[in-house]
Every structure is written in C-alpha cells, then in structure tokens.
Symmetry: C2
Subunit: 387 residues, 2 copies
C-alpha cells in the first residue's frame, strides 16, 4: 500500500439550509475541497459519494453520476456508497484505498444529506430503515433514540454510568460548537441546568442527548505522496483507514455496552498506523446520542470498559484536556446530515492538524475519526497525522 494524504477538505455549514438541493450542496463541497487542495476537476480521477436517504426523501438516486457530471468529472469511476450514518466515512475509506492501492493519484470523496425539508416522522421512519427490517425495527419497535437509550440504560446498570455523564457530553459538545461557525448550534449555547431539565426523548436520553436533523455536505481530496509534495502545504497523512461490519439488529449484538465493529476497526487501524490509543491527540467521534460518545471512548481504548462516563467527567476530552473529543461540536451540536458526517469529521481533524481550526487544540499531531452506521453495522475509523 502506498502512502496517502489528505490534500484538501471542505464542509458547508450544517443545519437547516432551506431549499438547497443535495446536488448543489454536494457540488459546493466538492468544489470547495478541490479549491482547498488546489486541484482542478480535470485532475480528479475517481469520485466516491456517500449518501443515505436521498432516494427516500428526495427521489434522487444515481448521485455519484449526478455529482460527477456537476463537477465535470466524467471519465473515471464515480461510485455511490451507503452505510447509513457511516456513508461518508465509507466514501473516504474507498477514496483512500483507491490511492493507496495505486488505482489513481487523486480521488475525491463527497458526502451529503438533505433532511430538514421532511417531517420528523418521515426522517424517523427513514432512519429506522438502517436497521434490519426482517428482524429489527418492525419487531422491536425501536427508533434509533430507543436503540441508544437501551445501550445507555444497560451501561448505567452494568457500570454505574449516570445521566450526568451523558449530560456532560452534551454540554461539552455544545460548548465546542460555539467556536465552530459551521455548526448547527453555533450561537446557541445551553446551560447545564437547561440540559438536565430538558425533556426525556427516550429515557435516559434527554433532548440535548440527541443529535438534530440536519442538511449539509463535506468533502475531501485524497492524493498520493508525489501529488501531495507537488501541491505543497501541510502534509496530512492517512496513517490508517479501516472499515468493519457488525450486526444490523439489536438482538444480534454480542454486547449492549459495546459495538463490535468499532472494536475491530479500531484495532485494525491502530495496528496499521503503528500507534495506540495513547498516541491519539484529538478525535471526532460519532456522538449521534451522548451515550454513544461514552461507549466510543471505551471501544476506542481511550479508557477501559465501563470507564467512559468518569473519563469524560474528568475533563480529559475537553478542549483544554489531554485528548479533546469532538472539538467541532460533534453530531450533537455540529449537526448530523447523515451522509456527510464521516467526511465532516475528516474536515475538522484536518483543520486541527493543520493548525487552521477555528479553535485549535493545544496539541494535535495525530487525530482519529470514528464514524458509525446504524446499530454498528458499518464502522469506519481513520487515523490522520501531520507529517
């Protein structure tokens, strides 16, 4: 495998973006990433596109070709991938592999989603389609809020995790979003009291423990070492990009306090990158619900099993802690346009490693992204480093 670098990134603002179409958002993100990398559309050889729900919500499929046409990339492969909330991460993963395996020298990964034009009921139903309909949601009646509330409840029962631990995640990420002008809740801070008093969505998860419904698009240009050197600028290397599959229904899981695909993908990523959890300076993790960030800390090895709550409460993952997590605001406060999220994580980590983030971390040489689809059915972990 060849060395792979991220030469350019872009993200639209996340939130309620009115009439912006998924095509226009995706093209904006693609153009932005190409401009950031100083790469022309003629030079882009492969396109990988991540999206979850445009077929169901906008009646638009075939988006890889639509976006490739819009960006004037019409010769090489343009491939659309779907892994629910990990769709953007999978697009990045395949783009990185295409360069790593010598299929091409310059690949573009774009992820996009438009959700706010639909009703909450429509979106909830569409999201439920990320569970196995033959043995999952229709049998259990679970929404994803319900699914993560079960994991949260189990974590509380087994490890003594508290609702305050979840609230701490919500507060930290909302605070971080106040420094990210692209975040959906930028300019909307909340107090600790307001979080603790907010209504229960699926006990024990309250309103601020749940990510919002969002529109947005993000993109990255991935290049070979020679191209990266020729383009100049800060070299951001992809030390590892790994993908793993897991169960698509609650009752197939081997644990309710851990996601097997995260453990497998993280272990593979650490081995590939020749680093351990202790080497990760910053991380963007998949906090679709606050309890998911607690579990992520453990599955990623940032702390031991069951220690996620106290680990977060210790302040270790704050901006000025030893390992800041979700400096972007995370899914909870940056927003979660499903297909874009995996690439938005890459956007934030790259800006942090470059030192060009809106609020740079004190130390950020190695960063990790953690993108989870469905009930852990698809997981992508990336480890990036400034080299």
């Amino acid at each position: 495998m060849r060395k792979v670098y991220v030469a350019g990134v872009f993200s639209t603002p996340f939130g309620k973006l009115g009439d912006a179409s998924i095509k226009s958002l995706a093209i904006a993100a693609g153009i932005g990433a190409m401009a950031d990398a100083k790469v022309s559309s003629e030079a882009v050889e492969h396109l990988y596109f991540g999206n979850f729900a445009a077929g169901m919500l906008q009646g638009q499929k075939m988006l890889a070709a639509v976006v490739a046409s819009g960006l004037r990339l019409t010769l090489g492969p343009a491939t659309a991938v779907e892994g629910a909330c990990a769709s953007g991460g999978i697009a990045f993963h395949l783009a990185a592999l295409a360069v790593a395996t010598g299929q091409c020298d310059i690949a573009l990964a774009v992820g996009a989603e438009v959700m706010t034009g639909s009703t909450t009921e429509q979106v909830t139903n569409v999201l439920a389609s990320a569970m196995d309909q033959a043995s999952g949601e229709p049998l259990t009646g679970l929404t994803f809020a319900g699914f993560f509330s079960l994991l949260a409840r189990r974590h509380m029962a087994v490890y003594g995790t508290t609702m305050d631990h979840f609230a701490y995640v919500a507060k930290k990420n909302r605070d971080n979003a106040q420094y990210n002008p692209r975040a959906q809740f930028f300019g909307h801070p909340v107090t600790w009291e307001k979080i603790q008093q907010s209504r229960l969505i699926a006990e024990p998860l309250r309103l601020y423990d749940c990510c919002p419904i969002s529109d947005g698009a993000s993109a990255a240009i991935i290049v070979s070492e020679n191209v990266a050197k020729a383009l100049g600028g800060t070299m951001i290397e992809v030390l590892a990009s790994t993908q793993a599959a897991g169960p698509a229904a609650l009752q197939e899981m081997d644990s309710l306090t851990s996601l097997s695909a995260v453990r497998h993908a993280a272990q593979a990523a650490y081995e590939t990158a020749h680093v351990g959890p202790e080497d990760i300076d910053i991380a963007e993790v998949h906090d679709c619900f606050s309890a998911a960030e607690v579990i992520a800390m453990e599955d990623l090895g940032f702390c031991g099993p069951g220690e996620g709550g106290p680990y977060i409460a210790s302040g270790s993952t704050l901006w000025d802690g030893e390992r800041p997590v979700n400096l972007s605001g995370g899914l909870l406060s940056k927003g979660h346009p499903v297909g874009a999220t995996g690439l938005a994580q890459v956007y934030e980590v790259v800006q942090q490693l470059r030192g060009t983030a809106d609020r740079p971390a004190r130390r950020a040489r190695i960063g990790l992204t953690h993108n989870v689809g469905g009930t852990g059915g698809a997981v992508v972990i990336n480890i990036l480093a400034r080299t």
Copy 2:
C-alpha cells in the same frame, strides 16, 4: 495488480418471486456462490452489495450489514454500492479490485432487487430517480422507456436502423431464454409476428422491446490466484474489470446514438485485458431496451458506428453465430432485477466459459459483460477468460 479469478457464481430464478424478501434472496445468492466456490462464510473477507431501490420500495437500507449478518460475515468491510442498473456490476468491480490490490484473497459480491410487489407506476417513478432530478426527468418528463426511445429514434434517423432491427433483438433474446430455466420468460416463447404486432410503449419501442419488472439476486465469489488454484476446478480469470462515469441526464450527453461511459470503460477494459473486440467469444450486454443492445454492439466495437442493426440482423449474435450475445435471454427475457443484473451477467458468462451453461456456446473462451446504469451515468465492463 494481482490476477483475480471468479471461483463461484449463483443466481436465483428471476421473475415474480412472490413474498421473497430482498434479504432472503440476497442470502440465498450469497450462500449459493459460496457453495459453488466451496468457500465457507468464515473465509469470506469482504462483501460488496449492489442494490438500487430497496430503500424506496421496501424501506430497507444498510443492506450490506443486513446481508453480512445473515451470511455470518461480520468482521471485514461490508459495503453497499448504488449505480442504478449498474449496481451489481459495481459490486463485482469493487470485489475484483479488493482482491487485485491485495486487500483480501476472497471477496463476495451480491446484487439483489425486489420490484414486483410494487405497482408499475411506483417502479416507473423509482427508476426515474436514476436520472438527475435537478435537470433531467422532472424537466423532460422522460421515463427510461422514453429516454431509450429517443436514442432509438435518433439511431433510425442517423443510420437507417429499423424497428425490425429492434424486433430482431427481442426475438433472439426471447428465444435464448427458452434454454435458461432461471429466466423470467422461460417457457414463454413469442413469435416474430407477435413481437411486431405488440403495442407501442414509447415509439418506436414496442412491448417486447422493453425489459420486464423483476425480482432476483445473483452473486459471485472472487479470489486470488493462490486461492483459485487451491479450490481447483475450471480457472475463470478476470482479465479486466473497468468502471466509468457518464452523464446523468439526456441533455448532457455528447451523442444520442452512443454512451460515452461505455466507450471509455470498454477501451480501458480491452487495454487492460490485452484483447480486442474481435477476441470476445460471447457477451452479456445491457439490453434494458432492444435499442440499447444495438447501441452496445457499436460502443463495444463489435461493429462500426451505425452498423448495430445490420450486424444483429446478420445472425452474428445468435447462439450459433460467430459471437453470441445475451445467451441468458438478456434483461429483455431473463428479467432485470436492477441490482442483480450485473452479477447475473457474470453468472451466465462464467457458466458459458466453464462449459456448464444450460445451452453452451460453441466456442467460449473469452466473455464480456456490459452493465449500464441510468442514462449511462455508471458503466461496468468485465472481460473474463477460461485460462
């Protein structure tokens, strides 16, 4: 790139399959391909899954994880791809690349679609989502029958192609399907007169010029050279697997009598395989409409531009012709469960190259598959050989 082999294939029957779910069909195809290859589920390292419409028609996304779980493949990547009617071809392409680039030694590609439980209006609307909704179908009002009728009409005007040429494709493929018990119209031969007198769907295309709505699933096991040798049996090598992108709307096309992505993918495939069109013994091409097979003959270089009609009328592509095309019955008579089609083409070519087809071609050492998505927005060409 390493050498890559197809070690196993399977296809369910195509047609109206009643209450069979997309999950059950996909699992059946996957198990079938593993059994054909004599490979256990534990040995399969990657899964690539092609589907177009399960989100819109069955409310089921995240199918790569659902199928991986059902097949008990839960550790490696399971990736769902979508390129409209080329979804199955893209799944095969990525599986072949995963092995060729050394990411794994054994990959499974599965494609599946369930369509007959929906109304024709629903299916027509869903298929239209494979055109660019921002500049295509909503503006032009074109269904895909309308789109291909425009290409057919243009081909007639420019080259003198006739409706009889299209009818000849329909008759040949229907005749071929009478030897393929998996075909949707097996046991349903039609006469030349019935084809010519059938009702117009979108002039100049008549009923028998249009593929049916179908359910079905197909799969292939792709392996490295060492694994192929260890498994034994006839060695079927993937000489080339190429993918190209093209326009997703009529008005973006550079020609109405040719698909640019087919020309690009075919040229790349011939160069990679070190063969020319003259070396192709058999082909399975994407005859969603009979006119599409005429155009395919030209874009693949089997004849010159504009010569597709006379070429087919000459009998060259009949079972006993010099280069049989669509011995399976093609999309027109085998059926077209969208996400499965690209892999069903591989199934037929592999059976022909092995000499185990229901009606073997006289000479079949090198075979080609041609899988087209949407308006030519995604194209996959494979060249396979018995070695």
